[in-house]
């Protein structure tokens, strides 16, 4: 057999390897940035100089490492893990390899909420912007559900169409809001739309982290049913899956993850599309392995992308969404070309 089957020990082994890769990427990311700390000096500081009162690092170096870079890295990891896990769920549930977390319009709804918040000057309030963005995406999810639910339950195709249409509708509203906004607001809006990881405070990071862990545990409980659903909903029923219930839980948990990530970080594209594909090609389609792998690798992927965004242009910062799309689009074309052959 050219691919070993998924066992608990394989899930653990793969997860440990990916966790190690993640850990290394976090360390490397910590050592890179505009403030010149030096790799050796930084590494020594991380190993032996992190505690209170150590003189290995200066106070400002400590502040940069642990109060500026570390929270941002953790935040990138949380957002990356959320979007990638949600991507796995949506691709499986909609049985569509082009599905991604934003496909049902969660991002469009969040954007309308966020832009409205920026225009109303709500950014000054703590949690103001994320709350409005979250509200926007929640409304969208409910709307898509109401449209997509027929009398015989949720139809994936209808849901997909509903998502596309609602997204298009929101795009129009976004364009309209942008056209009436002032120059100063425009800058904030654009950055939000491109995805920005520099906004988060530690309370927000903890909030997003809690949402991520809870919703991931929920979707992981449905990993095996999702395998069966990918093979067709009727087949899944014949093999004992309560398909209607599984779909609702997975849709809601996936949407929740996406909504939280988008609300705090803006629209960071491609992560949720590409990471599941990469992991599936590497490890196979079994969701019991695919979910934790995408979670961990998604975290790594966004940490790396955000590091590139921070250091690529000296004394300037790219929105991380630009980096993920710049790396993501060519990779996806490659994927399409090789898959077609």
């Amino acid at each position: 057999m050219n691919r070993s089957i998924v066992t608990l020990s394989r899930v653990v082994r793969v997860s440990l390897v990916l966790a190690l890769v993640f850990f290394v990427s976090v360390i490397l990311s910590l050592l890179m940035g505009a403030a010149d700390i030096g790799v050796i000096q930084g590494l020594r500081g991380l190993l032996w100089g992190w505690y209170e009162g150590s003189t290995l690092l200066t106070d400002s170096e400590k502040a940069i490492l642990f109060s500026v870079r570390l929270p941002r890295i953790l935040f990138a990891a949380i957002v990356g893990a959320s979007l990638s896990s949600a991507g796995v769920v949506f691709q499986g549930l909609l049985r569509n390899p082009l599905a991604e977390p934003f496909i049902l319009g969660v991002s469009g709804g969040a954007a309308v909420g966020a832009i409205a918040g920026i225009l109303l000057g709500i950014t000054a309030l703590p949690f103001g912007l994320p709350l409005l963005a979250f509200l926007g995406s929640a409304v969208t999810v409910i709307l898509v559900f109401v449209v997509g639910k027929g009398k015989s339950g949720i139809n994936s195709h209808t849901l997909l169409l509903a998502g596309v249409i609602i997204n298009a509708f929101f795009s129009a509203i976004i364009m309209f809001l942008i056209s009436i906004s002032s120059r100063a607001d425009l800058h904030t809006i654009t950055f939000w739309l491109m995805g920005d990881l520099s906004l988060a405070c530690s309370l927000e990071i903890v909030t997003a982290g809690v949402f991520l862990v809870v919703s991931f545990l929920i979707i992981y409980a449905y990993a095996r049913p999702l395998n069966l659903i990918v093979g067709g909903e009727e087949t899944a029923m014949q093999l004992g899956v309560n398909v209607e219930q599984a779909k609702i839980v997975l849709f809601l948990a996936g949407s929740l993850m996406t909504a939280v990530a988008v609300s705090f970080a803006g629209i960071i594209g491609f992560v949720g599309l590409i990471v599941p594909h990469m992991m599936r090609m590497l490890l196979g389609p079994d969701h019991r392995l695919l979910m934790p792998a995408s979670f961990l690798f998604g975290a790594t992927f966004l940490v790396v992308a955000d590091t590139i965004a921070r250091v690529m242009i000296p004394h300037a910062e790219l929105p991380v969404g630009v980096v993920t799309a710049l790396c993501g689009a060519p990779y996806f074309i490659y994927l399409l070309k090789t898959r077609m052959a």
């Binding site: 089957i5 066992t7 014949q238 309560n242 599936r280």
Partner: protein, 267 residues
């Protein structure tokens, strides 16, 4: 003891009546065939027994229990289905597909254990697909896919197996291999088989009893000798046939006649 019993089943798709007043009982350990022309409601009937479709009238019992009181996961331990299936989108291997048959027997977060893997291996050997184990399901031929799906149903270890045109894509060797396997499980382990098929001759060879459906109602039911008669086949299928006896074992044998059943000269 009756294993599956249907009482006065009626079913509609929107306004169109598909099934009406269908009643029959299948005994435990019986090999039961359902035949009938396209659109006579065979597959609908099977999907009702498997709780995919809910009839608008009548009741279904599995053993002594009302079908709608059985939880889906429990039902999957009793009833296995081999249907006409689409390949899954993502590249599951044949082995992984067969392993899905163990799903109803596993706890929510459990992985397949040694016992499950043995059952899966045996199911793959019985259907002659062990050499295909590592191949992606979507790359197999129609007949190979069919055998993988048969193996998946066997891995479920059901008491009742529903076959929906399960020999349609198989060559004659694998048709006979598969039906012999079904008959062995049927005779030796008391597996109840309900087979929907277009192949009247195969059903004549293997079934204890046959139900002939016509426009959603029972035309006739009984042993192959009672049901497969020239008059009833011609009436239900609207085609001229010759029915005689198989010289080896005396069961009815249907021969198609290339008679001009319709006049195409106008075209």
């Amino acid at each position: 003891m009756s294993h599956v019993s249907l009482k006065k089943i009626g079913f509609r798709y929107d306004e169109t009546r598909v099934l009406g007043d269908i009643s029959f009982e299948v005994q435990k350990g019986e090999f039961f065939g359902i035949i009938g022309p396209n659109g006579s409601g065979k597959t609908t009937l099977l999907r009702i027994i498997d709780k995919i479709l809910v009839p608008c009238e009548g009741s279904v019992k599995i053993g002594e229990t009302d079908l709608y009181k059985i939880k889906r996961n429990d039902l999957a331990k009793i009833v296995g289905v081999v249907s006409q299936d689409f390949p899954p989108l993502f590249p599951f291997t044949a082995h992984e597909i067969v392993m899905m048959g163990r799903s109803p027997h596993l706890g929510k977060l459990k992985f397949e254990g040694k016992g499950d893997l043995d059952i899966v291996k045996r199911a793959m050997e019985m259907t002659d697909i062990f050499p295909l184990a590592g191949r992606p399901f979507g790359e197999l031929s129609g007949g190979e896919m069919q055998r993988v799906l048969i193996a998946r149903a066997l891995a479920q270890r059901p008491e009742i197996i529903l076959l929906d045109e399960s020999t349609a894509h198989l060559d004659i060797k694998h048709q006979i291999d598969f039906l012999n396997l079904m008959r062995n499980l049927n005779r030796e382990e008391g597996l109840t088989v309900i087979a929907v098929t277009h192949d009247i001759n195969l059903s004549s060879l293997y079934c204890d009893r046959i139900l002939l459906l016509s426009r959603g109602t029972v035309h006739s039911m009984g042993t192959p000798g009672e049901v497969i008669r020239e008059s009833s086949i011609e009436e239900v299928y609207e085609t001229k046939v010759l029915v005689d006896k198989n010289p080896k074992n005396g069961v009815p044998r249907v021969t198609l006649l290339a008679s001009e059943s319709r006049d195409y000269s106008r075209f």
